[in-house]
């Protein structure tokens, strides 16, 4: 009886020791920086940064293989937070590729929609409402304009339209004199830019 108890305890202690040492030996170096960056990203997994998700993008940032301004869903806020965390200069959102400077929102043309739910599965932020064989619609306030729903649609009934500017979502253009190394652009040209934009409103 006693020998059985003792042997079992000894065995358990031995395995505990082996596992403890192998935990040190096989320790996975998951960098705390990557976790912190990952926490700041919006976790929409939309892939607009050209990485397959938020975590791979965070790893690329941590390895200094990617700039911090590739995340359209996160926008300026995420870039600012990343800049604060990594102690680097905030860059303007990278709009070099097909990302439009105007924020877009997806709209489903409801007469064409056949209710296949494919766009619902594609949406990373659950901004599309609908059920099988029922017409779907986009919750505009949730849509990040990532365009991931456009491709899966079999009847091409999703369009990306610019968000209409209303009094509630209009805000002053951000000053552009320090960003993008455009030194020749002064605050005055930027104000003129805003004024000229307002002229046609």
């Amino acid at each position: 009886m006693l020998s059985g108890v003792l042997a079992l305890i000894m065995l358990a202690a031995f395995f505990g020791l082996v596992l403890g040492f192998s935990a040190i030996f096989f320790k996975v170096e998951s960098s705390p920086v990557v976790n912190k960056i990952d926490n700041l990203l919006p976790q929409t997994q939309c892939g607009q940064c050209t990485f397959p998700g938020c975590r791979p993008y965070a790893e690329a940032i941590a390895a200094k293989k990617a700039p911090i301004n590739l995340c359209p869903p996160g926008g300026e806020k995420t870039i600012q937070a990343l800049a604060d965390l990594l102690d680097v200069e905030a860059l303007p959102l990278d709009e070099s590729e097909d990302t439009d400077p105007i924020p877009l929102v997806a709209v489903i043309i409801e007469e064409i929609c056949i209710g296949c739910t494919l766009c619902i599965q594609a949406c990373p932020v659950d901004a599309i409402l609908g059920a099988a064989k029922q017409m779907h619609t986009v919750i505009e306030s949730e849509c990040t304009g990532c365009k991931l729903c456009v491709l899966p649609c079999p009847v091409d009934c999703i369009e990306m339209v610019p968000i209409k500017q209303t009094l509630s979502n209009w805000h002053w253009q951000e000053p552009q004199y320090s960003v993008n190394n455009k030194t020749e652009e002064t605050i005055f040209t930027s104000i003129q830019h805003v004024l000229s934009e307002n002229a046609h409103l």
Binding site: G4, A7, L8, L11, A12, F15, L19, F26, V28
Partner: protein, 195 residues
């Protein structure tokens, strides 16, 4: 040498753990929906089965029998298997993060895979020696892997096939498993024929 080979063939085909002895059915049904997951699961189980059958033999031979505490065999083996699975999990996490993500919850669940405990206990019951135990464990694992991969491939095709509505999902999978089991009965007596 030939009896080792015979033991290997008989555990892989004739006494297949999943389809003939009906052990380890939970991962067989649970993680066979996709071929890659099934292959990952099969690899992890192969590793665990081989190591755990060797280590449980050693524990039985050099700790349980000298101390005359064979009645603690089951709980001791569970302890051994749990430790080996933990070790495997750490190694997989270190060496292949992709596989670690694919396997997910199934890796720790190998602990409760009845085939693993079954192999350890059957080794003692049939009085296998050290090398026989390893071959028995490895053969069981190869058999498990083969059946897993076959079944996952069939299920991937089943998804695209026109199954009557009433049989869709789990029923057709269970029927498929039953038919595979009957097919494997065809190997019965093969180990005697080789003798």
């Amino acid at each position: 040498m030939s009896e080792y080979f015979l033991l290997l063939i008989s555990t892989i085909l004739v006494n297949n753990f999943v389809l003939v002895k009906f052990l380890g059915l939970c991962p067989f049904m649970g993680s066979s929906r996709k071929l890659e997951v099934a292959i990952g699961m099969a690899l992890a189980t192969t590793f665990v089965l081989t190591i755990s059958s060797a280590s449980s033999y050693l524990v039985n031979q050099y700790i349980l029998i000298p101390l005359e505490i064979e009645y603690l065999r089951t709980i001791t083996f569970i302890l051994v298997i749990a430790a080996v699975v933990n070790l495997t999990e750490m190694m997989v996490h270190k060496t292949s993060p992709m596989l670690y993500q694919v396997l997910g919850i199934f890796l720790p669940l190998i602990t409760t895979n009845c085939a693993v405990l079954g192999v350890a206990l059957l080794n003692i019951q049939t009085g296998h020696g050290f090398f026989e135990s390893i071959i028995f464990g490895f053969g069981a694992a190869v058999g498990f892997s083969m059946v897993m991969i076959l079944f996952a491939s069939i299920r991937e095709r089943l998804v695209a096939s026109d199954v009557p509505e009433i049989f869709q999902g789990a029923p057709i999978a269970l029927i498929t498993a039953g038919i595979m089991s009957i097919a494997f009965l065809g190997f019965a007596g093969l180990d005697k024929g080789l003798n």
